[in-house]
């Protein structure tokens, strides 16, 4: 993949025809796996991420907490998810992302209902085209709700980037790789809380502020789609 000459044309459209504040086509499905207590498949454009939740179940003694459930999160990329085959052994990147994703879910799960248990959340990137951790957060949020785990709110994620001096939402791979900034954000709009932010790149203070503002607007919409998806799944279950 070569670096494009420019990312935004004279009409203000991005390489894939989107406007700067436009997200890729979003698809969400829940209950896609039979064994898991909860599961979800989420797509933003070509990025496809599957999440599964097991638990709460009795915790291993060594990690058990007396006053709350432990969360265990694994973010992992399938070997065929990337341009070149990815070694399936966990990379340093995956270790870090598992941590920040766990920390993005800790504030929304009501863990004190289930002392001495663990709730396992597996996030598998099936296809990667930018924004995998944010799609992973959205999928995990849906899978937790699908598993019936008590939550304070739903979260969703989106990445904000900067190309040709313009802030854009939901980077695809080219925009991520060659853009000037990549700022993944996960938030719970119903709580007005941001549960994950990272910045890879350079932004002014003002741009940083505007990036979060932009993300919150999109995350609001994404959480609405999550709610709709969950409602429909119950409707279907009722009809069966």
């Amino acid at each position: 993949m070569a670096r494009p000459q420019r990312f935004i044309d004279d009409e203000g459209k991005r390489l894939d025809g989107r406007k700067p504040d436009e997200i890729r086509p979003v698809k969400m499905q829940v209950g896609v796996l039979s064994n898991a207590d909860g599961s979800a498949l989420v797509e933003y454009g070509l990025t496809k991420v599957l999440a599964a939740v097991y638990g709460p179940k009795e915790s291993q003694k060594s990690i058990s907490l007396p006053d709350r459930a432990s969360l265990r999160v694994r973010y992992h990329m399938a070997p065929f998810s990337t341009e070149e085959r990815k070694n399936p052994a966990p990379s340093r990147r995956e270790v870090e992302l598992s941590k920040v994703l766990r920390e993005s879910l800790e504030p929304i799960v009501i863990t004190d209902y289930f002392p001495r248990t663990s709730i396992d959340i597996f996030i598998e990137v099936l296809q990667s085209d930018g924004g995998t951790r944010t799609v992973g957060a959205t999928a995990a949020s849906l899978a937790l709700a699908d598993a019936g785990i008590p939550m304070k709110a739903l979260v969703a994620g989106v990445a904000i980037g900067k190309v040709d001096n313009v802030l854009i939402v939901d980077l695809n791979e080219v925009e991520d790789m060659y853009g000037d900034a990549d700022m993944p954000i996960v938030a719970a709009p119903d709580l007005g809380q941001i549960t994950l932010y990272q910045l890879n790149g350079v932004l002014s203070k003002e741009e940083f502020h505007n990036a979060i503002d932009m993300a919150m607007k999109v995350i609001n919409k994404l959480v609405d789609i999550e709610k709709e998806t969950l409602r429909n799944s119950y409707k279907e279950a009722g009809e069966e």
């Binding site: 969360l71 941590k99 396992d120 941001i194 910045l199 979060i212």
Partner: protein
Amino acid sequence: MSTTPFRVQIIPKIKKESYLNLYRKGQRADERDFYSPRKISIQTNVLEKANGSSLVKLGNTQVMAGIKIEPGEPFFDTPDQGVLQVHAELVPLASPQFEPGPPDENSIELARVIDRSLRDPKAVDLNSLVIRPGDKVWMIWLDLYILDYDGNLFDASMLAAMAALLTAKMPEYEELETGEIKISKNISNNPIKINKKVVTVTTAKVENYILVDPNLDEEIISDTKSVIAFDEQGNIVGAQKTGMGSLSQEEIDNIINVSSSAAQVYFKLLNDALKSEVKEEKGDK
């Protein structure tokens, strides 16, 4: 797999209420105001065999940085750039919470945040580290060694990284007829080319208080932490929320403002330390 921390120190949590009582009066337990870092000392060239080294004390937290520079092969997609590798070791002698073994998620996160905050603003001029394009380049190994842990590893590590990078010297070498690069034991007088200086500012959120440079107790009672990296022009060159809790938009705006002022304090101390370094060098001669 990342698991909710289970080796949590309980005493600071019991003391949380008394800490909060102090915060309500605008004070911290170590008599700082909310926005001032602890006492900082920065020493450079603390090791003879490393190309660059430093020892930073931020309160009781101590981080040693060591730089080794070796010839190696460039990455396939960047044939005309040298390589910078940042690693962090949470050495078991630094804290009862650190266990021997391969790097855990905390040390990987620390190293990667430092690495990104140096890489994205192009703090180190990687283009200047080419020996033969596409074939031989210099690899800069920056190892951060946490020796004593009293909170805020990010800021101490970045100060140590910067101090070591700014005072490191390239190796002397010769190209053998076989094309191999042989480095001699002598270290040259050529510095690593640095484009810009970077510092990180860590803040802890404890209920609705934002505290710059949290010590270990403050980290343990905090809801969450933010690490914001700045260059000297005040641009944000990296950021990471770390820890379990969450932040509102207003809190993040506030954190950015508070952190950007604290960054100036760090830059001043870093520059002062480097100036005295230059003086000492001159004095020796």
